[in-house]
Amino acid sequence: MKILDIAFKDMLRSFRSGFAIIMMFGLPLLITGLFYLAFGGIINGDNDQLAPTKVQVVNLDQTQGVAAGNSLVTFLQSQELTKLIAVTVSPDEASARQAVDSQQAGVAVIIPANFSNTIMDSATGAATAVTLYQDPTLRLGPQIVRELIGHFLDHYNGSRIAGGVLAAQAGKYGVTLDNTASQVAGLEYSQWAQTQGAQPNQLLDLQAPASQSANDKPLTSLIGSVMAGMMLFFVFYTGADTAETIVKEEEEGTLARLFTTPTSRPLILAGKFVSVVITLLIQVVTLVVASALLFGINWGAPLPVGFMTVGTVVLAAGFGLLLISFVKTTRQSGPVIGGALAITGMLGGLMTTGFNNIPSFFATINLLTPQGWVLKGWTSTLGGGGVGDIIGPWLVSIVLGLALFGVATLIFRRRFA
């Protein structure tokens, strides 16, 4: 009973502190919320949510007749693309480039003077390029423009290839074709390409990777990953911060006073450990429920989520107690807690959960830290993993947490002997 009294007193102290509340619940939800606001709508593939990229087009191709340059300008100005790009026709190349340099536009599209002639002149094999002059700080907008123009050009490229292959194959087999045969082949290809263009995205069977089965929307998947990273960072922080009451009470002399009471020292320390565990449990459960309600995160099936909650609490409590066992004064605790948690959190992958294409060796480095193991478990639950998938990280969390807890207890016992 005394254990619970001591734990309750410490918890009361924690939960009365505005600072502790902000660190436990406010900051992880704030950071995740900012990501949610930043990418809401966009990541789910809804490009309408993006501001249209400002494009300056300069058409140096003034060829009469075919006028493919004009066709490209018309294509870029078409109504269907207005949500993606905002096109302004520029009088000359210099002013188009200047518009990009002065950030009046994100991309300048420069259609070369020989554009139409190159398309028409299949005999010489000459080539040409449409130049995209882009603001180097932009990525998405120029990529969209590049794709649009690439598709447009491939239509012409395909027509030329169709004519060229027919001529080459006929020549190889000794068949003479009249001059129009290649043009007819190109035209036929062009007609086929137009029918294909009307049926986009039918050539590939797109599937999300395994992690997105529980959070089938890419945005929810990103937000789930970010939230997991932030939750674990601040849970480990709370573990150490709550355990810091031992040092505070030692400094203030209240711990020494407690030791003079009939309550044994191991019981007093046990009460403080219980307070850390219950505080962390409340924090994890609150964050999981709140983020599920606020951001629609599906953390996974209840059983593996329950397992990982316990694993996280045990490991964060053990790690926090161990950190504090090395601290002599509250003055030392700031840099020790801040420094150690930032570095292990960073190496454990908590700061990079929203990143893509992280080198694979980094997954191995993650597992050198306690945070890396719990993150692995939570990533599995977010991906719809069952108990079988999280049992490894869970066991490591429990065993490591208890081991750190044991070491911390030994250090505290020697310190307060």
């Binding site: 882009q134 490229n157 050539l203 980094f362």
Partner: protein
Amino acid sequence: MRIFTLAFKDLLQTTRDVRTAVFVVVMPLLFTYFLIAVNGGASGSSTDSRLALAFINHDPNGIVSAQFFNLLGNSEVVRLGVPDENAQARISEQVRDGTYTAAVIVPAGYSEQLIAGTPVKPQVIVDQGSESGQSALNAIETASDRLQGALQTARQTTQTFEARQPFTDATARQNFFNEALAAATGAWKTPTLTVRTEQGGTQSTGNQVSPATQLSPGILVQFVVLGLVSICVVFFLERKTQTLSRMLTTPISPLGILLGHGLAMAGLIFFQEILLITFGQIAFGVDYLRDPLAVLLVMVALAVWAASLGLLIAVFARVMEQVVMFSLIAMFTLSTLGGCWFPLEITGPVFSTIGHLTPSAWAMEGFQNVIVRGQGIGAVLLPVGILMAYTVVFFSIVTWKFQRRTSLNMA
């Protein structure tokens, strides 16, 4: 002179605190190195920077699948890898874990069915929510479109030729078709019309801008705010321990006290900026020295603005913990909204518009105008002016609050 004495005292007090070394020096350097390295922005890396694409072919002898492989192999965006059988079984997890950005799985009988005109789709496993996933998917779609185009070309060519000169048998026809398909696929390697990308400012044709040019200034701006904590604490403790009240009885004016503390904050931040900029330049080749004067202007404006933010936190905080709390909230909010962690371009229009109003966004703009856009001093004047305007507003609030406190004898 008193202002400088006060600033010197603050700096001395702060640098003696181990927290300063941790939060101003060690953590920002580690974060900069780590985040840039993880993003593949470390300089001197000679590895292929294209996105890894797994190609699993269940149609090993098919001519169309072979041409699909060739077309993907030509891509400047993806580099092909063929996973072994064990890896194939876990391919979805490997895409999730980032071993591969995407995977293409060609079904058995793919070539035969396509040649026969039966629709058949290769499976593509990709995270469409990620920027790299989208880039990989675009490359796959381009290759797939071109493959369909090559098939159409082969069909047309075979039919046109057959109309002129019938084939002796089905094998001859199939051989002719295969040759035409190979010729068309080969022609797609060097299309007549291409798109050439020029990066503005750097004038480097087609080169991708290193992630370090986003993350190096981004982490700098982020840690400038966090670095304020230790020196804010000094000012705050002066307030709480009545040292400040005692100082107000001396000839130094309240404004002088604020300027002294502000100068110390700006000095500490400026030192941190020099450290991080030197590190970014040397370790990652971020070209801060392209125009040293322009960068210096942004550094000074950022340091002065951050100092005014530090004073604001210190005069409004009621307890010590609030100093840390306000600093952390400011750091996370301003870093995210200001585009320190990701470019505002890839966020929604509302977020992006609000983000562009923050001082952190203007600091990023100032640095990136020089290091990425390759512009000079003229391009940093607006960001610097806006940072200074924020400084004036913040400092006015600080002065008002401080004078109110001193007049009420609450300092």
